[in-house]
Symmetry: C2
Subunit: 342 residues, 2 copies
């Protein structure tokens, strides 16, 4: 079925576009009062993410309310370790917390082998199918997963961390175990992303939130090696967003994916000089711009748009939208992009 | 008085050295059982930092116990906002917490004008004088302060944060207030660093822990502009450590300071290519290497040392030493550097 608005997909593959597509990371979430209403009707984040009818409802909200050019399924990158047997809780105002973590070989017993993602992650896949129905071909739906390195960080550390020093310790003390885990995460992630496509995801994105805590060589060995496997195994529009991976930017451009996401500290012109017309670049307005006045949001958005030297762009923030941003300010951003003539 | 070991100072100014000097950020701290014993004798971190006899005792410990080539005064970058009237508590396992924060112009009334650092920060200055006596000219003593941008982050946010989005919001919504605060912090910091020198500090270091959350242009405007004022006002061996400021590395090289600190993700050869022989580079072993075996610590340290193409180096980690590192591993690192022939 042809989408009414396929700007995002055309921009992904470098086809002609009449204007830049725009969406926001974390657009389905706390910025919207309509989301908070749904969220208040359940016990917590996990119940919402695990209830396909509600997850699909909040996924569609920003399409209806903000007018974005793509929807992204409401879920979390931690559903993968959860499906592998390391269950987590999402603790209000604190973030994720895993009761069990992996520190040595014997902890591998905590992880289930040969899991069936269609079974274990059925709730996400159903939410995708339902969302596709509710979207009714208006805009594409993006599926996603965490990159193996970031998932490893949570499986070892068990929660968020400023340094993820326990995970980085493992790279020096037991790199074999790290590779074993990364490979298992990679295999599940490939199966999971393919399943998302089967259930209707039109495009995919990999989030490597903690790429920036590794130096160049370690990120090649423990990060990009597994991202490459995933990107090679899964076809179609695919965005890799390695937050803070400044020193690996040129290596990211060699991945066989369509799109590279940039955080707000990355230089768009420099990134374009590295990839030429071989990649679509996604990003990268500083999310804090959306705290500004209407005029400031417009001028900063214009500044970014004017810096684009190619039509191969998908406009986004350089990080997820912050929960206390006013929806009107998000709309100002979106409308500024929509009214901009390429 | 001539120091017995002035390697650190000679390396700072590019004079001849027979081997590389080595010290560790956070060397006076929880890694040492002898520190934990002193720490247990007082109510908390602040009492220790505010008691000159004890602060000087723990400052000297790593010189005696680890054999480092420089001491750094035991203190905290937050003594500056504290002295300005925004008092903080150091909450166990959580970090700093400020009861009052700056959000708008009227909050400026919370800050005292024209403070006398010799009075308000007498406890640090006394600790410096006492430390100099206890060191008895064995090694140089480093004084320090936080860079204005990082101090602003705490004054606005009131605690640590992953994004410091409230401080970054201020840059878009009220940049005038941000500049007003940054200038006040800068003025106090200059007076404070000069006072540290008068009381005996042989060298100084500025820590910009949150440099990495700003893009290039904002870091120039809200970060480096004030660092430059400080470096221009204070003479002598001076290190600027802007953690994560990858996109401003070439700008940092233009500062009139002797030394640039590099974090563990920064590329030493690239940094050297930017500064030639005009700067001493400090760093930058990944602190997680010290979790490794003796052989691994040695081989990673050798790898770093062999990458040096100039004698203008001071060896350090690329971040503060993590508190659960064994002192024997720190000694392996230090001795590997000391036994390495340039």
């Amino acid at each position: 079925m042809k989408l009414e608005n396929d700007l995002y997909l055309r921009a992904s593959s470098g086809q002609e576009i009449e204007r830049y597509p725009v969406w926001l990371m974390r657009q389905a979430g706390r910025i919207l009062p309509e989301y908070r209403e749904v969220r208040a009707s359940v016990s917590g984040f996990k119940e919402l993410a695990e209830t396909p009818d509600l997850a699909s409802e909040v996924t569609v909200q920003p399409v209806d309310l903000l007018g974005v050019d793509a929807a992204i399924i409401f879920s979390d990158i931690l559903v993968v370790p959860d499906a592998m047997g390391l269950t987590y809780q999402m603790i209000e105002k604190k973030g994720p917390w895993f009761e069990k973590t992996i520190k040595n070989e014997s902890d591998l017993a905590l992880i289930d082998n040969d899991i069936d993602v269609e079974d274990r992650l059925a709730y996400v896949l159903q939410a995708i199918s339902l969302t596709k129905r509710k979207l009714n071909n208006r805009v594409p739906l993006i599926g996603f997963a965490g990159a193996p390195w970031t998932i490893l960080c949570y499986m070892v550390e068990g929660s968020g961390s400023k340094t993820f020093s326990q995970t980085r310790k493992l790279l020096y003390t037991n790199s074999q175990l790290a590779h074993e885990l990364l490979q298992r995460i990679t295999d599940v992630t490939i199966a999971y992303l393919k399943a998302q496509q089967r259930h209707g995801a039109d495009a995919l994105q990999l989030f490597d939130s903690w790429a920036g805590i590794l130096g160049h060589n370690q990120y090649q060995e423990f990060g990009m090696r597994y991202i490459k496997q995933i990107v090679e195994a899964v076809k179609g529009p695919f965005t890799v967003f390695s937050k803070g991976a400044y020193s690996s930017l040129s290596n990211l451009m060699d991945l066989p994916c369509t799109t590279i996401g940039l955080d707000w500290n990355m230089d768009m012109a420099f990134a374009r000089s590295l990839c030429g017309e071989s990649k679509t670049l996604q990003g990268n307005l500083d999310p804090c711009v959306l705290y500004g006045s209407e005029e400031r949001i417009q001028s900063e958005t214009f500044k970014m748009l004017k810096s684009f030297k190619s039509p191969r762009h998908i406009v986004n923030l350089g990080h997820g939208v912050y929960p206390d941003i006013h929806p009107e300010n998000v709309k100002t951003f979106i409308n500024t992009v929509k009214n901009y003539e390429i």
